[in-house]
């Protein structure tokens, strides 16, 4: 007991983060069906978009001859977006049942509570990404190489963290699960308003303008590079900068809402 009281702050914080992640893992193990929408949606989009728009690779400007290779990063990121959004929905549910109030009454710093939620979402995002990747390979997606795969997974877990911050911000702001469509649609739109369907040069008017300024376009391009070519630092660092910037802004917003909720 005495040892516990003397536990240094960093160890206590780590233990809290670990406990929150373990709780999220328990939810997944006890209710495996809860993970199905996050897996199913990107898989349907992958198979559907590939069947429908596969012929687009015949257009000049595509850097790959298989649409599977072009679209697989989008499906992996979509899975991350949905998984991150689910973290916010669960947070809203926890608020509705009073669990968040108890959590906020604990001496754990707010950033620790948010980190636990966000890291759990990042870990869960590996499941849909791996599922859709495993489907894409036999269907004709190019093997991205070990470096390409590592960069892709880095972007996937980071995008899930961004989505978790976004959805946590909304969950704490609206304090209701009814904000769920906003969390999910927000991420879906953000990912699709990039070079999701075609390279920038082949896009039309307004969407080209939006994709150019959308930071997630850099994330998509970094995730995609191994699937459509080779991995280069020039295609990687803009994705890292974009994801770090998004994480910083959205984490600050979520923390501010958490502090407001505690007050």
């Amino acid at each position: 007991m005495e040892g516990r009281l003397e536990m240094p702050a960093w160890r206590a914080n780590l233990a809290t983060i670990g406990a929150l992640m373990a709780r999220a893992k328990n939810e997944l193990v006890r209710v495996p069906g809860a993970a199905i929408p996050g897996v199913l949606a990107p898989t349907i989009f992958f198979l559907g978009l590939n069947g429908v728009f596969g012929a687009l690779t015949q257009l000049q400007g595509f850097t790959t001859s298989t649409y599977e290779s072009f679209i697989i990063p989008i499906s992996m990121l979509q899975g991350a977006g949905f998984t991150g959004a689910a973290a916010g929905v669960n947070l809203a549910r926890d608020y509705e049942i009073g669990w968040i109030d108890r959590l906020l009454a604990s001496p754990a710093p707010r950033w620790v509570l948010l980190t636990g939620t966000v890291l759990a979402a990042s870990a869960r995002a590996v499941i849909p990404a791996t599922f859709v990747f495993a489907i894409a390979l036999p269907l004709g997606a190019q093997w991205p190489g070990v470096d390409g795969l590592l960069v892709a997974y880095l972007m996937v877990v980071a995008t899930a963290a961004v989505a978790a911050c976004w959805s946590s911000f909304l969950a704490l702001r609206y304090k209701s699960q009814s904000a769920a469509p906003l969390m999910q649609a927000g991420m879906l739109a953000a990912i699709l308003l990039t070079t999701a369907y075609a390279p920038l040069a082949l896009m039309q008017g307004w969407l080209q303008d939006v994709a150019e300024v959308n930071p997630l376009t850099e994330v998509v391009e970094a995730t995609r590079q191994g699937f459509v070519g080779s991995v280069t630092w020039a295609d990687t660092w803009p994705g890292i900068v974009a994801i770090v910037g998004l994480l910083a802004v959205l984490a600050l917003l979520a923390l501010r809402e958490m502090r407001r909720t505690a007050r």
Binding site: P37, L40, A41, I44, F45, L47, G48, L49, N50, G51, V52, F53, G54, A55, L56, Q58, L59, Y67, S178, P181, A185, L188, A189, L192, L193, T195, A196, Y197, A198, L202, M203, Q204, G205, W206, L207, Q208
Partner: protein, 261 residues
């Protein structure tokens, strides 16, 4: 008062309740309108260059081509939402009260379908308006627009019949809601978003036999080319087929519901 008039009044009252309920709840109407609109905008901007592919039908723009697909997606979601609303009524006990009232059983389902048809009508008008605002022309003129509107409204009601049958059979909103992804699968595996000839196998073959493809072509033709009797007839026959399946399944599910309570 004759029996027919009484039945019509019951259907009207339940239909109006269903319409009001749908338009009062943003969570019911938002996925039906917002999501297909978002996808229409993104797919038009992202894959718009597709119209220069060899074999792509002669169209003014990709937006013009995609309008029918967006309407189809919207009406399928409307059918699903109608099923969810009916399942919620069953869960809340509202349908039980209607069953004990001296009204025909079919009026209960028909009233709900009126709400779904209203949503289909709204979706057709919404997407035609969006198309016109952003420069798409309706080649079939006013008559073509009317054909498209009528087909979308009727198809929404037909698909709503399937949603109602599932709701009556299961009596659980969560089950009907779980069919949401299936809507996307069915729409993707049709010619809703791309010409069937240019799709990749196996989607290409599935789309050739998918009934939704016949409906979507019937809606699309008046928009991109003008009214064509054969295409319209195939769409009407397909809708009638879906109505028939919906009726059979609904009546069987209704009997089941009356038996289990």
């Amino acid at each position: 008062m004759s029996r027919v008039v009484v039945n019509a009044r019951v259907v009207w009252a339940l239909g109006m309740r269903s319409v009001r309920q749908t338009f009062r709840r943003p969570q019911l109407i938002a996925p039906i309108i917002v999501f297909p609109t978002l996808l229409l905008a993104i797919q038009t901007g992202g894959a718009g260059a597709a119209i220069s592919l060899p074999g792509f039908p002669e169209v003014q723009s990709f937006l013009q081509f995609m309008l029918a697909g967006a309407m189809m997606q919207s009406l399928m979601l409307a059918g699903n939402s109608g099923g969810i609303a009916l399942a919620v009524d069953i869960e809340m006990g509202f349908t039980d009260r209607l069953f004990s009232a001296p009204i025909p059983r079919f009026a209960i389902v028909l009233g709900r379908l009126a709400g779904t048809a209203a949503l289909g009508l709204f979706a057709a008008l919404w997407f035609l308006a969006i198309g016109l605002i952003f420069g798409a022309e309706i080649e079939g003129g006013v008559a073509g627009a009317l054909v498209a509107i009528l087909l979308v409204t009727a198809a929404a009601m037909a698909v709503g019949g399937l949603g109602a049958a599932i709701a009556l059979r299961t009596g659980r909103a969560s089950v009907v809601q779980g069919l949401f992804p299936l809507v996307f699968v069915i729409v993707f595996l049709s010619s809703a978003f791309f010409p069937q000839e240019l799709m990749i196998e196996p989607a290409k073959t599935i789309a050739a036999y998918n009934p939704i493809s016949f409906v979507v072509e019937g809606v699309r033709e008046p928009i991109i080319a003008g009214i064509e009797a054969d295409t319209t007839l195939y769409a009407v026959l397909t809708i009638l087929g879906i109505v028939l399946v919906g009726l059979v399944l609904s009546s069987r599910a209704l009997r089941h519901r009356l038996r289990v309570g």
